[in-house]
Each structure stands twice: as C-alpha cells, then as structure tokens.
Symmetry: C2
C-alpha cells in the first residue's frame, strides 16, 4: 500500500559512478571488476543500505533463490527439529525458505492456485504425503528439482529420497527385546496407513520375529496411528482381545505415550508387568514414568540432508537416489532394563 522509498540498482550505480551492469557484477560476483571500482560500488551499497529487489532479480535471472517446503500440517514434536535442519541448510546455501501446508486448504474459493512450484521456487522438498502423485509426476516431467523427505517417490520416478533406516532401527529394537530382555510375545502398534515410516517399522518388527523363529501373530497387532489418542485406543483393544503379551512396541513415541496411559489405566505396571518401547525419541519420551526405551531418529539431520540433496540437484542436476540415515537404540527403563542414570 504505502510507497516507501527503496534504493535501486540505478541509485547505487549513480552514486558509484558506474553502470548498473557493473553493480550487478559486483553484487553477484559474476565477471571481472577492478578492485577500486568494486569498492566504490560496495561503499555505495552500504551508504544507500541497498538490498536487491528479490522479484526483479528473480524475473531477470529465472532463479528465485528460494526453496519450498511442502507439508501437510505443522504438528507434533517432529516438526521443530525437521524445520531447524531445513532452515539451517537453506541459510547456509543462501536460499530463502518458503513454507506451504496443503492441509485444510482454505483457499479453495479460487480457481487459480498458487502452489509451490516452478513459478516461485528453484526446487521443493516434499514431506510425507503432502502432495499427490499427479503433481509430483508433473514436476518430475518438467524436470523441476524435487526431493522427497520421509516418503519415497511414486513408482517409476527417479526422485531423490531422504529418510531414516526405519527397518533396521525397528529390527535392532525388537532384537534387543528378544535377545537381551527375553520377551517373545511382543505386540506391535503400527503407524498410520500410507505413511512410509509405518511400513518399514513394521517390516523391521516382522523381520526380527522371523529371525528368532517367533511366529507373527496378527492378534498382537493394532493401529497406533502415530498419535497419543490412537495409541491409547490400540492398547485397550489389544488388552480386550485377551491374548497375553509381554511387551508393546509402538511404532512411534506419540502412540507409545498413549499406550503407557492405557496400560496404567488397566492397572498394569511398566515395565514390571509389561514392557513398552517406541520409536523416534521425541522430547517427552525422556520424561515419562518410566522413561521410554526407543529408537532415536535423526530428524534434524534428515531435514538438513534433504536440503543438501536438493541444492545439489538444482546446481548440478544430480543427487543421491536414496539417503537413509542411521538410527540409534536408546535404552531406558520402560523395557525392563536396569535403571541407569537418566
């Protein structure tokens, strides 16, 4: 609305007594400029407090210097660390970060969409199921740089993917439960359908059972849904089936928190009566009573790595097909391990 004054490249050029092309060269470090000239330009920049107009340079250079982050919604303990990693990466590379949520679009009123894409970013990171396959395919077709975070690309599309070693993490956790703690009847609270992390964590669970000659029992599986409420409901359901189990593996810590509430409510003590473990190692897990044994997922690192891959894709046209980040077993009291200094 208001028409505030701004120094433009012309002002700088005039003040420094050079052409705007030279100013542009100095600012972007493109092309040779005599040091004396460059200094005059830099002085003018400082004196006028000049910053380039982002839209103008974007239009002229066909680069936005911005990367987009697409997510379904901002929620949970996952989000903060992830964004920290992403932000750190974009800042280090000198890019801006634009964030779009696809959840509950209030803007359906208009026919014209303003999504993240070729027209406002140099590349985007797609988190989980935040964008449908058609749009992903379209971006792929026009060769727009995209990186998938915690969700592998649609079949047939060679898009870089960054995620956790979910299967291995779950495997190590269940191995530990079986081998070190001696449990054999281990219930599983699976995550939401369609979320990739869910799938691989279940695979790790099954793989571990199989490796120890323990038969997979569908009655010992319920859906925790990656949230507290569903985790609680899932355990109640499990309990009501009457099949005994010695431990519960919740596919994420949020559902483990709900599971803990349900177990306590049923009068069961953790870990004396039943062991409980989760996955992710979100902050509250440490404070639970008892503290939760879990698998630490390098959330921030994954965000950071997604940026690395995206920048590489933007700048060189190539990136790693798949980057799987290692997870770490975090043993606390909820699995019956001897108390340690917490």
């Amino acid at each position: 609305m208001s028409e505030y004054s701004r120094a433009t490249i012309d002002d700088v050029a005039e003040k420094a007594g050079v052409s705007i092309a030279t100013v542009s060269r100095v600012i972007n470090k493109t092309g040779q400029v005599a040091e004396a000239t460059a200094n005059r330009v830099l002085d003018a920049v400082t004196a006028l407090n000049y910053s380039p107009h982002a839209a103008a340079r974007g239009l002229a250079s066909r680069r936005t210097n911005t990367i987009g982050l697409m997510l379904r919604e901002i929620s949970g303990e996952f989000f903060g660390p992830m964004l920290r990693g992403i932000e750190a990466g974009t800042r280090e590379y000198g890019f801006d970060l634009l964030i779009h949520c696809t959840h509950a679009s209030t803007q359906a009123a208009s026919k014209v969409n303003y999504p993240l894409g070729e027209h406002n970013a140099d590349g985007i990171i797609i988190f989980n199921e935040s964008l449908d396959n058609n749009e992903i395919a379209r971006l792929y077709r026009i060769q727009f740089p995209v990186v998938m975070l915690h969700r592998s690309p649609p079949t047939g599309l060679d898009i870089p993917y960054v995620g956790f070693e979910n299967k291995l993490g779950a495997r190590k956790l269940v191995d530990y439960l079986i081998e070190d703690r001696g449990y054999r009847r281990i219930a599983f609270l699976r995550g939401p359908d369609g979320i990739e992390d869910s799938y691989w964590r279940e695979m790790g669970y099954r793989e571990s059972l199989a490796a120890h000659n323990i038969e997979f029992d569908a009655d010992l599986v319920a859906t925790g849904g990656f949230n507290e409420y569903q985790g609680q409901a899932a355990v109640s359901q499990l309990l009501s089936r009457g099949k005994p189990f010695e431990a519960v593996f919740a596919a994420d810590d949020d559902s483990a928190i709900g599971a803990l509430a349900a177990l306590k409510q049923a009068g069961l003590h953790v870990p004396e009566d039943i062991a409980l473990v989760g996955f992710d190692d979100i902050r509250p897990s440490h404070y639970l009573h008892p503290p939760l044994t879990t698998v630490r997922a390098p959330i921030e690192t994954a965000g950071r790595e997604a940026v690395n891959q995206l920048i590489s894709l933007i700048q060189t046209g190539r990136a790693e097909h798949e980057t799987l980040l290692p997870t770490e077993l975090i043993i606390r009291r909820s699995c019956g391990a001897p108390a340690k200094s917490e």
Copy 2:
C-alpha cells in the same frame, strides 16, 4: 538450471482469445469482465495448468504477497505451535510465508545482505529479539509494515505488539500458591535477560508477593534462563544458599523441568517437600512426575493474531497497538494440589 516449460499469461491469453490484460483482470478479480470471457479465460488457465509467476507479478504490482517471519532460532516447544498459528493465518489471507533466522549467520562472508524487508515481503513479524533496534527503526521510518511478537517495540516507535498477559498469569499463579496452598517462601527462577516475557513474569511474581505482604527476597531468586540446563543449575544454586523455601516458580516450563531434576537429585520430593510450578504449559509438562502446575500460554493464538494485525496493517495501514492474550492457570500435582484425573 534446466529450462522447463511454463505456461505464461500470454499462452493463456492466446488460448482464450483475449488480451493479457483481460487474463490479468480475471485472475486478480480486478475490473469488470464479461462472464463468458471470464469463463474462457478460466478454462484456458485450467487447461494449461497455469500459475502466475510470483516474481513477475511482484515486480509489476510492487506487492510480494508474502509475509516474513524473523526469528533468532528454531528451537524449543514454543516454535511449533507458534508457526502453526502463523502459517494458518498467512494461508487464510492468501499470503506466502518466508522464514528467516538471524542466529549464527553463516552468510557473513558477503557485504550484501538479503534480509527480510521491503524488497521481498509486504510485511514482517519480528519474534523476540530477532532483529536489532536500528533495523526495526529503519523499517518503521520507511513505513514498512511490522508486527512485534512477544517483544514490545523499541521506545518511541508505534509498532503493533502481540504478546501474552504474562504479568497477570504469573500473578494468578503466585496468588494461588499463597492463598490456596499456603506457601509464603516462594523462590523464583527468572528467565533470560532482555526477553520481555521474563520481565513481566517476574513483575507478576513481585506484585503477588507485595499484595500478600510478603517481602521480596533477592536470595530466593536465581536465573533459570528458559532452558532445562539453566533451570537445573539455578535450583542447585538456590539450594546451596541455605535459605529455606517451600515452593519454586520457574518462569518457564523448560526451566521447571530442569528444576525438577535438581530437586530430585537433592533428595527432595515434589510436591511433598517442595512445590514446583512453571509457565507456558508445553507438552512435556503434563508427563512429568509429578505433572507440572503451570500457566498455559496461547502460543498458537498469538502467532495467528500477529498475522491478523500484520495483514490489517498492510491492507488498511492501521492495527491494534497492543494485543495481550489471556493465560490460564493449569493446576496439576506438582504444587501440592490434590491428585486429580491426569
């Protein structure tokens, strides 16, 4: 790098058999267009999967349709809810959200800065101490729309401010401790210097003491610093002074968590030996042992409200000078209140 095809306004105009001016009018709902014509344009838009080029329209219209969020760093439990509120607001108004951290600038290499400002946003939200007074003053001088979130503007600048009723919240909490729980020697863990929330929470504490004729005792005050580690250290320090106290009021929940650890370590039971309360009601507070009595701060609402004020400022040139959001007392067991269903 890659040169992907994009439908431009010219393509749409050609396909619809109209001029680009008409397309622009239809898309922006500016000016009268015959319904039949408008429909042809809309069809062409859909057929070509057209989205306007953000930079081009920004350059032409001198509006970016973007609001900027400036923060020092992405951390803590505070960040997620705040961003959720901000994102929801920007989306509802059809704005994009650009995020900048000012912490640990890796980009110091260059003389030319690309901060948030007139050149890449229509307005910005400044969170806490993320921007220095000089730059804020400059933005104010050129009448660039700015809203301060959880930090009041530099003296003399009439910039809208959104925050919590910190003083009242702290006052109610301490009143409760004194009146309902009968404590009189209440220690205080203050927040970091220079953070506004710290200051007002301490004022509420002092006000309550004064109202109950309890003398303020500097020996009962230490600095918790809004983080777990410092909260722990502060309580250790308090304990070492040898002055007895019956309760600890930590100026935020993070330091309360640290305080709890320190108390336990000293062999004290909460709340039997000593009561503990915090401020904010972050997620872990509920899971502590015992669950933490605290003051719930409407973090998400504050973010949302900051956007409301900023949009108002952008669109009408005016906004509320000050928006203080009410807080709510959350009573749990850590203050010695009778156990309730947690």
